[in-house]
């Protein structure tokens, strides 16, 4: 990773980087110029005596015209260049593969044209253009992958699109860039760019390539639950160290008796936890906002079991 701009991992990065470089050269030039002149004048014309002679210069049309025209030309070049690169960002090729994206407080859901779904992990194939069709279930979110140089706000009530062709195999951070509430900074996901072979295997459902799935068959349910806790966005709202974030903390949750909004109370056991994951608003604990989305169809029964096992370990 270079120090000033992240590595480029999409077809769009190069043109964005080129214009960025141009703007940077222009900016550095003018910054150095102005600073140097300022410092030079400050030294040369510093007040040495009270009656130092000064020149009576009020204006100079030639100089003023020149330094109005030069920035104007440069700015127009930057505008035009930025626009050209922007057009590329905005216009996906026809052959792009579509992926549906749902952003909600505070997780990402991806649905592929094969019907496969994934949560907080976007799988794409190297060198194959992808078109994301994105909607939000609640407030404005923004899809941002720094290495791809793409960003698009996702609005509730309409579809937004974004496209890119990943050029490098690897895992890249996907960040929510539009402030969306208390879980905003935890609304992170990853984009997994797979080689064509790996992608084909993944599509077939043979997920052995996938570290998480691999772990699923070889680790205890509680450990699997721990991974799910961070991958599936639970951590945005539920702490494991007793802090109150948005929802109740998981620490010492199992076996506790919670007071509900309707005045009754409930013992937190396996069934209550399962119900709360699938139907969060069925039994609301007193004093918490009804913001949790349902994980029905997102987390399998097996995964819910793993999560419950994990919660049980948090004492």
């Amino acid at each position: 990773m270079s120090t000033w701009i992240p590595e480029s991992a999409s077809n769009l990065a190069a043109s964005v980087d080129n214009i960025t470089l141009f703007v940077t050269i222009v900016s550095v030039f003018f910054f150095v110029l102005i600073s140097a002149v300022l410092v030079a004048f400050s030294i040369k014309y510093r007040r040495k005596s009270e009656d130092q002679e000064t020149a009576y210069i009020t204006h100079n049309p030639v100089i003023e015209t020149i330094w109005t025209i030069i920035p104007t030309i440069l700015l127009m070049v930057i505008f035009a260049w930025g626009w050209i690169a922007f057009k590329e960002l905005r216009n996906p090729p026809a052959e792009a593969i579509e992926v549906n994206v749902v952003a909600k407080q505070w997780l990402w859901e991806f649905e592929y044209f094969t019907g496969k779904k994934s949560l907080n992990e976007l799988f794409v194939q190297q060198n194959k253009p992808v078109r994301l069709i994105m909607r939000s279930d609640d407030v404005i979110h923004s899809f941002f992958v720094p290495q791809f140089r793409v960003k698009q706000d996702i609005l509730p009530g309409s579809y937004q699109q974004l496209w890119f062709t990943p050029t490098k195999v690897g895992t890249f951070d996907l960040l929510c860039a539009e402030y969306c509430g208390s879980g905003h900074s935890k609304m992170l996901a990853t984009v997994k760019v797979l080689s064509p072979e790996a992608f084909a295997r993944w599509e077939k459902g043979d997920e052995l390539e996938d570290g998480a799935a691999l772990a699923a068959i070889s680790v205890s349910p509680a450990e699997r639950g721990k991974d799910l806790y961070s991958q599936r966005g639970c951590l945005a709202c539920h702490s494991i160290d007793g802090k109150e974030v948005i929802g109740p903390t998981f620490k010492n949750l199992y076996g506790k008796t919670e007071d509900l909004e309707d005045g009754s109370s409930v013992l937190v056991d396996e069934n209550y936890l399962r119900e709360s994951i699938y139907e969060p608003e069925a039994k609301m604990v007193k004093g918490y906002p009804p913001t949790m989305p349902s994980f029905k169809g997102i987390l399998s029964e097996e995964e819910v079991t793993a999560l419950i096992e994990y919660i049980k370990t948090l004492k």
Partner: protein
């Protein structure tokens, strides 16, 4: 300075004000009347045109804009320009949003 201690007073007469008032009544009747006809997309244009004529009459005569200096005119018209800008660009932005074909 004390020699010019009064500003121009525009003693617009009762007759002018009455005529203006009457014109406004008539235009109100006209706008209600024409609303009964359907000009398609021009309904709003017609209605706004009549309203603007009425507004102009109120401003020019009742509010004496007719007798005001250039400066007042500028500051009476500039907000209208900004209003058009606000409405125009907002509408332009809203209706040029690219529909995502799904």
């Amino acid at each position: 300075m004390s020699a010019h201690n009064h500003t121009e007073e525009h003693h617009t007469g009762l007759r002018v004000y009455a005529a203006v008032c009457l014109a406004l009544f008539v235009l109100t009747a006209v706008t209600v009347y024409v609303a009964k006809f359907d000009f398609g997309d021009f309904n709003i244009v017609v209605a706004m045109l009549i309203a603007s004529i009425k507004a102009a009459i109120v401003a020019l005569y009742f509010m004496h804009l007719k007798f005001e200096d250039k400066l007042t005119w500028i500051y009476a018209l500039y907000p209208l320009f900004l209003l058009f800008l606000l409405i125009g660009f907002t509408i332009m932005e809203t209706f040029t949003r690219v529909p995502v074909i799904k």
